[in-house]
Subunit: 655 residues, 2 copies
């Protein structure tokens, strides 16, 4: 009893000191190192190793140090106790040890082969944090930021292609990887390299779906720095953002696909149930995310009516914006939907409606806040990936499987990009050139999402092997493909002589647009036809959005009284913002509206575009609306900040 | 085996769905409700219930709902298992249950009497999160923000009094509460109300020290809104900030005070060891925090030399600032010191040096970021306090003990404020008036720190009772004292007719200063004498700081070449920022420097203050430097934002 007492008091003191502090300090240290490295690299215009690659490298080194330098002080672990009375693992366990009751919390299931191989190093255990932290804390800001900073105009111009790559492409990629891996697994079992685990075709498909989430953050950062063609940028960015969403839902659908009898046989009912699940979850998450954004827009819209002025309290406004956006994610997760998809569309909708209602101060605050959170979360994840290679304790390295996965990933990427580009080019007036296709093929990096999906479930041996493999594929693609981006760009430019798309280095994307509009020759025609391509899909939506939703949810757009039929006038009058009427008179704001709805305006007057008008619109856009979309990759915000302040001083000081 | 399989797969699916999402969603929901309530209150200028009180109330209601509405689905818990082989509780436990190995993690020790009373409600368990989250994640931003936004000028003017209240006052409060509680405990044991636990005098002192941390956030928010006298504000704010630090270190020192023999007897050696511990930990934490800030200042200072320009990447700058400040906290914790003290002084030092080196963009970013984090963290903590009353499972309500604690807290506050004020008034030229003393007495609310210290250790029964009591004292003081602040202010004003200090409602603190300076009569004299009071303490420090540290660490101040002896010139030339020379010529920046070091300037030319110069300084100050110190309590940032932009447009657009 006395001895136990002593033990407990030592434990208490330990609690009092540094519970969790050391682990967090290690992460802080890695992040500080990463930031200093980025600073150095920026300084020397060194683009070979991106910040994410650097973060991963530092994580790797730190993992190595932790693994082989720290001692294993906890002698107790490694011993398995028998508790005959228990029939299943409860979530909490009360255990009576020498007259003292201790509470233990369920952590995970451990395969038998891992029990003996455990290092019993508490430091390692502490460094491997809960996968739910990834999903609930680290991923949402990244995905939200992607949605919030989507270059809407360019995105919608290429929407058809992006959707094709994202949905069809991901499905193709998933199936191709699944098939190749199934072949590999069968072959490995055949030559005795792999013990006969329960490695079904669905497991291979699961692996295929999680490996289909691309994360070209490295490539996009370099594109952004070099100002590579906006269409290529948008195609890649849009594809990767949506394809993450698709891959996550797909992984989820496959994980709950459970054929009734033989797990290897094809069960049509279960298959269609999975497809139904996929569609239902996707649509549900989309609805959940958008509706939270609409609620935010409505609340922030209220701020100009006489009753209340939320915009006078930018802290409350920012707080509400942040919390509602995060709630979109959490609600979707709690409802069994996919939070990532919800938060993505929440971000897009927030940027489309709520952003226009925010006070000037909150616009900047939200932008900077999410930029900052995105930056931190991204680097934490990549550091953690580096760490995980050495600190995660149940790795199963299988060289053949890893080799197979690398092959599968590249074959799948190829059979996704090239055939789909061919098909899309049949329909597109402005073709996707070969060089773009090669670049997209090359930019199929795997990153945070693939890792997060893989680490979510590492209970069984096949899953552990998949996790290890996914991690190594991420390393390989980030370092090799990410590091080679600049070289690849140069190489493609030289070998294919495709100078038209790469000689705009250093030109602002908006300048690019303006240049097209003013030159009025082939590119201008091109633009109109490109627009017409996707217009059939969105003509109705845009009309509806411009006429009804924008006036209802924001202060821009025509007053509802002019767009709704006459008998709705009483209702319309109440719902329209008083500013909407005023805006029709003021010159500056009219430009702002047109410019907000540039697509609508273009399609309405698509027969002829007046060059000077277009010109002035485009230039306003460069300083006004587009600024939110520029800060894409974390580090471009500063320049924009200046543009914003310089271009609209009266908004900053008066709004 | 088959059945187990099924169980495991259900568990997995549950993992896949909403692990942690529901709990986070509940917090988000509470915070959204709180924000909407604040908005409503602000709108109606309703000051009876502060946001923190509101957050606590919502938390309480939610806790009630969770406790009595949700079911207890986990039938397993509540059963205690015997594991004879174990001799002590290891940190992880591997248990073999029907051929499957599960890993369990040590959570805490449970007293026997709690085992049967456990509700076994998993929801409740999930809502009670780890105390280390408080200390490592939620408290640092609050404390850092307090340090970062300290009104330095007013703080230093009253430093003597603030230090007296913080150190002597907290010690008095701790001892008085300890003695009263010891008396109560003895009496309760005597009348049989309390079973004879091991409730030593050190336990009572421990309770005394944790209850000595005041948190007048509610009161200060109202002061800020009403623009109550700056000296009273500074006295209270400074006292509470430092007294948190003192109380934390005191609690830590007491918890490791272990007399050799009889725990009730006084052991001089152990006592002096504790005092030594206290001083060592305080000094060490101070050094740790300041040195991290100095490192940050040096890194950010480097940005104007030719080699690198960190200020071009405000994201990196902000990131580095954030991470280094947090690291100050974590390093101190990891080294066995007190992180809160470290992060507090880190904040003060960052504001003093690093802030001047940051780019205009980063200045705003850091200010807004910490303001936002402070706001969120504060409301999360208060929500959680509300929740804890119903969701925490090991409460021990002892009405007599609670009553005793309430009495003790007020007696201790009284025997701290009144005698110390009397003593201070003997030395002060500008006395602390009676009304201020009453207000300070009344503002002794308990809040986040007391709660966090109490929840850190709830393993034994006395500690559980202390936790319950601390929680209820927090409720009482926040609702009753916090809610009554406006009434109390009015009451004191009427009964004591002390209009001089309260008729400046609506006047900016800087206007206040200006008014004093321009009226040139008694108040002006007063100010000079007040300054002279504390000047003897800080004359040397200020001279040193102004002449050597400021030029070394920031771009302001005189160039080192002019302050260092001549033979140091070569070194001085290297270390001085090129901007320091330029600043001597430019008019605007000279004002900025003077204004930065107003205290120094004042003491140097304290014999005579030129009224017009003072006037221009003060007005620049209102837009320039002071803006960081205005955003104190989270919601004042907007007005300042405008001032900032309006006052320094060239800085925003060019820097």
């Amino acid at each position: 009893m006395e001895k136990l007492k002593e033990y407990v008091s030592v434990k208490d003191e330990d609690h009092f000191y540094h519970q969790g502090a050391v682990e967090l300090l290690i992460f802080n240290f890695l992040l500080i190192l990463t930031i200093l490295t980025i600073w150095l690299f920026k300084n020397h215009r060194f683009r070979f190793l991106h910040e994410t690659g650097g973060a991963m490298l530092y994580g790797l080194v730190m993992g190595l140090i932790i693994r082989y330098v720290t001692k294993s002080p906890d002698v107790e672990s490694g011993t398995v106790y028998e508790c005959e009375k228990l029939k299943s693992g409860p979530s909490t366990l009360l255990i009576n040890i020498t007259n003292q009751v201790y509470e233990y919390q369920y952590k995970r299931e451990i395969s038998h082969h891992n029990v003996n191989g455990r290092q019993g190093n508490t430091m390692l255990q502490k460094m491997t944090f809960d996968p739910s932290i990834f999903f609930n804390i680290l991923l949402p800001p990244i995905i939200f930021h992607a949605g919030y900073s989507l270059k809407k105009r360019h995105f919608f111009r290429n929407l058809g292609s992006i959707l094709t790559y994202a949905f069809l492409g991901t499905a193709i990629s998933c199936i191709v990887i699944g098939l190749i891996m199934y072949g590999f697994v069968k072959a490995m079992v055949h030559i005795g390299q792999l013990k006969q685990w329960e490695f079904h075709f669905t497991d291979c498909l699961f692996f295929g779906s999680l490996m289909s989430a691309t994360d070209p953050v490295t490539v996009l950062a370099i594109f952004h720095e070099l100002n590579v063609d906006t269409d290529l940028y948008t195609l890649l960015f849009g594809e990767s953002v949506l394809n993450d969403a698709v891959a996550i839902v797909l992984t989820h659908s496959i994980s709950i696909y459970s054929p009734k009898e033989n797990p290897n046989a094809f069960d049509a009912a279960a298959f269609f149930q999975s497809v139904g699940n996929f569609l239902g979850i996707f649509a549900g998450s989309f609805a959940m995310g958008s509706s939270y954004a609409v609620v935010t827009a409505l609340i922030s819209f209220m701020h100009l009516t006489k009753f209340t002025k939320l915009c006078e309290f930018p802290m409350l406004e920012t707080g509400l914006f942040f919390l509602l956006s995060w709630s979109a994610f959490l609600s979707a997760e709690a409802a069994g939907l996919t939070g990532i998809v919800a938060v993505l569309f929440c971000g897009v909708t927030q940027a489309h409606y709520t952003y226009n209602n925010l006070s000037a101060d909150s616009k900047m605050r939200t932008k900077q806040l999410f930029e900052f959170m995105n930056f931190l979360a991204e680097n934490v994840i990549f550091c953690y990936m580096g760490l995980a290679l050495f600190t995660f304790q149940n790795h199963i390295f299988n060289p053949l499987f890893i080799f197979g996965a690398l092959v599968a990933v590249f074959v799948a990427r190829a059979s996704n990009i090239y055939p789909l580009s061919f098909l899309l080019n049949l329909g597109r007036k402005q073709k996707i050139p070969r060089t773009f296709q090669h670049m997209m093929m090359f930019s199929g990096l795997r990153g945070a999402i693939a890792f997060a999906l893989a680490i979510r479930d590492t209970d069984s041996q096949p899953k552990q092997m998949m996790f290890t493999t996914a991690l190594l594929v991420v390393f390989f693609t980030v370092w090799v493909c990410g590091g080679g981006t600049t070289a690849m760009l140069t190489c493609l430019q030289i070998r294919f002589g495709f100078l038209v798309f790469f000689n705009r280095v250093g030109v602002d994307p908006d300048e690019d647009l303006k240049a097209r509009a003013t030159s009025q020759s082939a590119p201008n025609l091109d633009k109109n036809t490109t627009k017409a391509e996707s217009a059939w899909l969105f003509r109705i939506w845009y009309g509806f959005d411009h006429k009804y939703l924008k006036p209802l949810l924001t202060h821009s757009g025509p007053p509802l009284t002019s767009t709704l039929p006459e008998w709705c006038n009483p209702v319309a009058r109440i719902l329209t913002s008083p500013r909407a009427y005023g805006d029709q008179l003021k010159d500056g704001d009219t430009v702002y509206i047109i410019n907000n709805d540039e697509l609508t305006e273009n399609y309405e007057s698509s027969a002829h575009i007046a060059v000077p008008a277009q010109d002035s619109t485009a230039s306003t856009q460069a300083t006004g609306k587009e600024d939110i979309q520029e800060g894409d990759l974390g580090l471009g915000g500063y320049k924009l900040q200046i543009q914003h302040t310089a271009g609209q001083p009266q908004k900053n000081s008066l709004a």
